[in-house]
């Protein structure tokens, strides 16, 4: 489990609405902006941390969320989750840019934060206040220097096919990190084109992810979620503590999400965006894992576990 330390940056707002919107942006509590070059000085003058937005310096990401493709044949009836974590795992050193429709900006901000990357978010102005609330929530979360947790080493050849395999592994909460060669510290190493994971297997990425899960075994999975098809997990941790990021791509509230984390932890603390005075429920240890329930969560929740 190697270190990819979380960046301390919060997502920035990419804003092209002009200085006349100064009060709205201030009221939303947003400080860091990417704006057109000719507006930088003006925004700085009224107290914002403004920089020129240069699209060439960012990798553009699709809007995160869920699609229900009922009219398409698919391997399962599971909703189609559009998540970008696998892209960040592939080339996590970049800064990213989202241009998202209404009601997707808080999700984009949460996704970027959970993955520890710098991001600029262009949003529908109707979501400005909600985006500001998300930034305020993220600002209140301590960011300890914990390495990313993953127990699957994935050798990425950069192809679309391996990209889709990584997407579906992330979709199933099979926590992996990209490695250049098999890592003996991982419980499982995955390289397409080997005897264990053939090219033929990878032709069906959904089945491939199932194969990876089977070879890893559920007992060795770092995290398992029960009660939602649309929440994805990401973890950071060391020998004594773990942070579990839970990102809800579904757009609605999720009640009663049950989480199982491998390893035994004595206590846990929950912070959930948009929900006050919340605490983990039904906390317990069973069969080498720690389990707890998130009573209710919106787009993003963070759980800190300590031994």
């Amino acid at each position: 489990m190697h270190a990819f330390l979380l960046a301390a940056l919060l997502p920035a707002l990419q804003w092209d609405q002009g200085l006349s919107t100064e009060n709205s942006v201030k009221e939303a509590g947003i400080q860091r902006l990417y704006v057109p070059a000719d507006q930088v000085a003006g925004w700085k003058k009224v107290g914002f941390d403004a920089q020129t937005f240069n699209a060439a310096k960012f990798v553009k990401l699709p809007a995160p969320g869920v699609e229900y493709k009922m009219d398409e044949a698919a391997a399962t009836s599971l909703p189609w989750v559009d998540a970008n974590g696998w892209r960040m795992a592939r080339d996590g050193s970049h800064a990213y840019y989202y241009s998202v429709p209404w009601r997707k900006a808080t999700l984009a901000a949460a996704e970027a934060f959970a993955n520890g990357v710098d991001a600029a978010v262009h949003l529908d102005p109707r979501e400005l206040a909600a985006f500001g609330k998300m930034l305020a929530f993220l600002r209140g979360i301590e960011i300890p220097p914990l390495p990313v947790m993953a127990n699957i080493g994935f050798i990425d050849d950069g192809s679309d096919q391996t990209g889709e395999v990584m997407n579906l592994m992330a979709r199933r909460n099979l926590l992996f990190r990209v490695v250049s060669a098999p890592d003996p510290h991982c419980d499982l190493n995955v390289q397409i084109g080997t005897e264990e994971f053939s090219q033929d297997d990878a032709a069906d990425p959904f089945a491939f992810a199932t194969l990876v899960r089977k070879k890893l075994t559920d007992e060795k999975r770092l995290v398992r979620l029960y009660g939602s098809d649309v929440v994805l997990a990401r973890m950071n941790g060391d020998a004594t503590r773990v942070r579990v990021h839970l990102i809800n791509y579904g757009g609605g509230k999720v009640d009663g999400l049950r989480v199982r984390v491998r390893g035994e932890y004595a206590q846990g603390q929950l912070a959930a965006f948009g929900i006050q005075n919340t605490a983990l429920a039904d906390f317990g240890i069973a069969d080498g894992g720690t389990e707890f329930t998130i009573p209710s969560m919106n787009v993003y929740a963070v759980v800190d576990l300590k031994k």
Binding site: T210, D218, Y226, G256, D282, T293, P295
Partner: protein, 382 residues
């Protein structure tokens, strides 16, 4: 308590070979691996099969429901309930019959079935008469919990208009898919088709509140299980995340229904089955979107043995299907299995390969008597 339920293959095949449906059973030699997690121990005398294994009281009343208006004759229901309970227990007074099962300190759940509502459901007049009888033996309305899984289905029935104030109407899922209403520590873990969420959890009301349960299923055909009666209603109706047991043309209802029904404390606390067959569904179940597939058996069955009651139900549904020239619930021919909307309108099309053998499988788990020759039926005509 955690234990594995995986019948050894050789043992299972031996059991299958001795059973009437050996051919069908042989298809199931590779059963899923179930891991049952529960902190509850079985009671000394589990509710299923209870004090009357292999015994069923059947009461038929021609005037219990009007076939045109579907209006229920509440007075007929009162008579059916009284006669049925007395016939089951042998008591002269129905109050004594109810007192065998319930005391004033009990907190009683009534597991209704609303999946076919508003076309078919545990009839409100039947549920009301159960509540009245509970009251007669000292169980206060506040100690009665009518429960189901889905709020929108129960709301369409309006039980509150039929039962006394104070009776609780509870659903596990206020919104579909939420597991907040289920016990995180009582579940069956099984991977059917590679699904990621492999747990089915027991409703909290069962594990945390109830001391006794009355199961009130309907008489219905079921596209996956063959029929849905006592076993299916108490099992799939008390656990989360059960629809995952069907995929493509295959369903795991054969072994999953009995496995769920056996989980403690559900098995110990379910003490009485009152099958409401005023209405029935002979095709398209568990739903009832088309009235042409509803029929009117006008009977109720009473028992503590869910297997015995369901064994009789099999003949009711398959008999009606035969009379309507529909394929048998036992038909496993792939030529009758089709995806898409065909099933909804054609009673000889199956959505899945049906698994009516789930009833016999439940008998193997000790939940009751399947052999029709061993089932003692007391028939009453009103």
């Amino acid at each position: 308590m955690t234990y594995d339920r995986h019948m050894e293959r050789r043992r299972f095949l031996q059991a299958a070979a001795s059973a009437p449906a050996a051919l069908a059973a042989a298809v199931h030699e590779d059963l899923p691996h179930y891991r049952v997690v529960s902190r509850f121990l079985a009671s000394a005398h589990p509710g299923m099969p209870g004090p009357y294994p292999g015994k069923v009281a059947r009461v038929h009343a021609a005037k219990s429901i009007d076939e045109q208006s579907e209006k229920v004759d509440a007075a007929a229901v009162v008579g059916m309930m009284s006669q049925g309970m007395r016939a089951l227990t042998g008591d002269a007074d129905a109050r004594d019959s109810w007192a065998r099962f319930f005391s004033p300190s009990d907190v009683v759940g009534i597991k209704v079935n609303c999946s076919g509502a508003p076309g078919i459901m545990s009839t409100p007049e039947v549920v009301a008469e159960i509540v009245r009888n509970l009251g007669a033996v000292g169980v206060k309305p506040q100690q009665v919990w009518i429960y189901e899984r889905f709020r929108n289905q129960v709301d369409s029935v309006h039980y509150d208009r039929f039962v006394p104030a104070g009776v609780n109407i509870w659903t596990a899922e206020q919104s579909r898919g939420s597991i907040a209403g289920y016990d995180p520590n009582t579940y069956v873990d099984v991977d059917f088709f590679g699904e990621d969420d492999t747990r089915s959890n027991l409703s909290r009301v069962v594990s945390e509140r109830l001391t006794k349960i009355i199961n009130v299923p309907n008489m219905k055909d079921h596209g996956a299980a063959g029929v849905t009666g006592c076993l299916k209603n108490i099992a799939y109706g008390s656990f989360s995340n059960v629809a995952r047991s069907h995929s493509g043309f295959k369903t795991n209802t054969y072994s999953f229904i009995g496995t769920l029904a056996s989980v403690e404390p559900l098995r110990s606390r379910t003490v009485l089955h009152i099958m409401d067959g005023l209405r029935g569904v002979w095709h398209g179940g568990p739903f009832s979107q088309k009235r042409k597939f509803r029929f009117y058996p006008k009977e109720m069955m009473f028992g503590t043995d869910p297997v015995a009651v369901d064994r009789l139900l099999l003949d009711v549904i398959d008999g009606k299907r035969a009379a309507e020239h529909a394929s048998s619930v036992w038909d496993r021919s792939m030529s009758h299995v089709k995806a898409g909307p065909f099933y909804d309108d054609n009673p000889s099309i199956n959505r899945y390969i049906r698994e009516p053998g789930h009833i016999e499988y439940a008998a193997k788990l000790g939940l009751g008597v399947y052999d029709i020759g061993q089932i003692q039926v007391r028939k009453i005509e009103l």
